[in-house]
């Protein structure tokens, strides 16, 4: 029980409050990856995320100038991570219990971790009827049978604010997020000890992520595909595929999405979520399987658990495809960005 303690203040680049610095250096510079880490740690809950760029309305008055947002921002002093990262084991697997995007291994990992008692609750991203993202807290594996929870959504979600509440509520938390989110969580864990309660960080293979309204309008006007009656979105072989209720599929080449890619994603080179405990993605495995890159012991133990319980069937992954995509991402997202 300390009655006297100290905390560090990051140095300022401009003579403003800290959010001013963040705004100048990250948001206005177009580096912000919209991971909402700053929104999650802001003590006055002033920073807003959601389906819009990160902002702090009248921060000049309300910001208490604590610098927490800067401590956790993954794009402050940005040096991009890239490549496959180090891993213990790579495999391709398909869950036998759950139906997911491909192999539903994200769901499988979370369910197994919950069953093992490694984590008490997990933060998942569900979607509503027109594919807006919605945060759900998973406490029991039964909740994961909901088809709206599994499956990929290609738009931003405020995972980390929900993650902070979960951290304050329970001892061991897991979450699923894009590489930038995983990186942000690692920075949070360095800065604030409490976030070490995040026991399981499942990273997703990620090329880009979109604002929901952008994606919606884009699909509507490009392919006249209304997301409201879509049942599945996916990226396969450079094509963005939207599967409709009536079974029809809309294919759009990923290159056309250039105009709506947020600027933050254009400087991101991390495809395989190198900081995560385990990264999962469809790339590099046969159809209906997901590639699983186990990076830490925790994830390894979960994988063992899955093996012994025989929850999933396994396969040899094609790692070079993943490698190719990593390089491709580095190619299309150069750092520093050439003007």
């Amino acid at each position: 029980m300390a009655r006297e303690w100290q905390f560090a203040l990051p140095e300022k680049k401009h003579e403003k409050k800290y959010f001013g610095n963040l705004k100048a250096e990250v948001i206005d510079a177009g580096l912000c990856c919209h991971c909402a880490a700053c929104a999650s740690v802001c003590p006055v809950n002033g920073i807003t995320a959601g389906d819009a760029p990160i902002d702090f309305p009248n921060w000049i008055k309300e910001c208490v100038d604590c610098g927490a947002c800067i401590k956790v921002c993954p794009r402050w002093d940005y040096t991009p991570k890239s490549g496959l990262g180090e891993y213990i084991e790579v495999t391709a697997a398909r869950s036998k219990r759950f139906v997911g995007q491909d192999g539903a291994m994200v769901t499988e990992f979370t369910a197994s971790a919950l069953e093992m008692g490694l984590i008490e609750r997990a933060i998942f991203v569900a979607r509503d009827s027109n594919w807006r993202t919605r945060i759900v807290t998973i406490r029991t594996p039964e909740q994961l049978y909901d088809r709206k929870i599994t499956g990929t959504k290609y738009s931003y979600a405020d995972v980390l604010p929900a993650l902070k509440d979960a951290v304050l509520k329970s001892e061991a938390v897991g979450f699923v997020g894009t590489p930038c989110m995983v990186t942000a969580v690692r920075k949070m864990q360095q800065a604030f000890k409490k976030f070490e309660r995040v026991k399981l960080a499942i990273g997703l293979f990620c090329t880009e992520n979109f604002y929901h309204h952008d994606l919606y309008n884009f699909l509507l006007e490009k392919a006249n595909a209304d997301l409201r009656n879509a049942i599945k979105t996916d990226i396969k072989k450079g094509k963005f595929i939207v599967e409709m209720k009536d079974g029809s599929r809309v294919r759009i080449p990923v290159k056309d999405f250039e105009e709506i890619i947020p600027s933050g994603c254009k400087v991101c080179q991390d495809f395989a979520a190198v900081d995560s405990d385990v990264s999962v993605g469809s790339v590099g495995s046969a159809n209906g399987f997901s590639t699983v890159m186990v990076r830490t012991e925790v994830a390894k133990s979960i994988l063992e658990y899955i093996r012994e319980k025989d929850y999933a069937e396994f396969q040899e992954p094609k790692l070079e495809v993943v490698q190719k995509l990593c390089d491709h991402k580095i190619k299309i997202h150069p750092w520093p960005p050439e003007k």
């Binding site: 029980m1 009655r3 006297e4 140095e11 208490v64 604590c66 610098g67 604030f192 409490k194 976030f195």
Partner: protein
């Protein structure tokens, strides 16, 4: 189990019942056992635990907002003079005395006053200064009444003395508690605790953060001055990372 059934209503029974009823009425008319309390002229003696108007002791108050937060009717709003003190809106108060029971130092106490007349709704909102004493009321009564019951007696005993409306404050075992930080490593550094502290017991001063020898940057030192801290727990409720607690000290 008691089995009841239809009562008989033959004339003989009815005559008996008529006679009983009339006899009872005549008995009461001759020798009434009257239980009316003629209120303004005589006042009932209420026990010490009576939930009346609330009396506030400014010295004991540590402005911990507990009374304001527990109030089911939102009748208490805190007012800032040198510290934050509770003011009670008697237009809303339901006299549940949750606030009195919540007060950790016994600064709020009950009284036997239950009949105060207000001229307007604005008057009913009493400030902390006004509730520091028992509200003065016009006492017309000459005597105090109390119900005396016995195995076969039930009467009003009237004493020709006035009842004291102040209740001696009940002692509360004050638990000496101070704020402390459980997990300094995860302090955001927002200093909201320092801002909210009514005693300004949390001191913040710039310093240099150093790991080993080399100075890594500037920082702040937060210090809770235990002599000033009253253990109100406002900082505990305010902390966004929930790393502050109240811990018992002393005895």
């Amino acid at each position: 189990m008691i089995r009841l059934s239809k009562v008989k209503t033959d004339p003989v029974e009815n005559l008996k019942r008529h006679a009983e009823a009339i006899g009872e009425a005549v008995k009461q008319a001759i020798k009434p056992d009257r239980i009316t309390v003629e209120y303004p002229r005589e006042r009932r003696r209420y026990p010490e635990c009576f939930r009346g108007f609330i009396v506030f002791d400014k010295e004991k108050c540590i402005s911990c907002f507990r009374c304001a937060q527990i109030c089911p009717a939102n009748a208490i709003q805190m007012e800032y003079f040198d510290k934050a003190y509770p003011g009670i809106d008697y237009a809303k108060c339901i006299f549940c005395h949750f606030c009195v029971d919540s007060c950790p130092t016994g600064a709020l106490n009950t009284s036997k006053v239950h009949d105060v007349a207000f001229k307007s709704m604005d008057e009913m909102r009493l400030s902390a200064r006004q509730i520091t004493r028992v509200p003065e009321i016009v006492r017309e009564e000459k005597q105090t009444v109390e119900y005396y019951v016995d195995r076969n007696v039930w009467k009003l005993v009237r004493r020709r003395e006035l009842d004291r409306l102040e209740v001696p404050p009940k002692p509360v075992k004050v638990r000496e508690r101070k704020a402390a930080c459980t997990e300094p490593e995860s302090c955001l550094g927002c200093r909201l605790c320092a801002n909210v502290c009514p005693q300004n017991a949390i001191k913040v001063e710039k310093c240099e953060v150093s790991i080993g020898e080399e100075v890594t940057g500037t920082g702040c030192v937060l210090q809770i001055q235990t002599d000033l801290c009253t253990g109100c727990g406002l900082c505990v409720r305010q902390c966004p990372m929930q790393i502050l607690t109240l811990e018992e000290v002393g005895e």
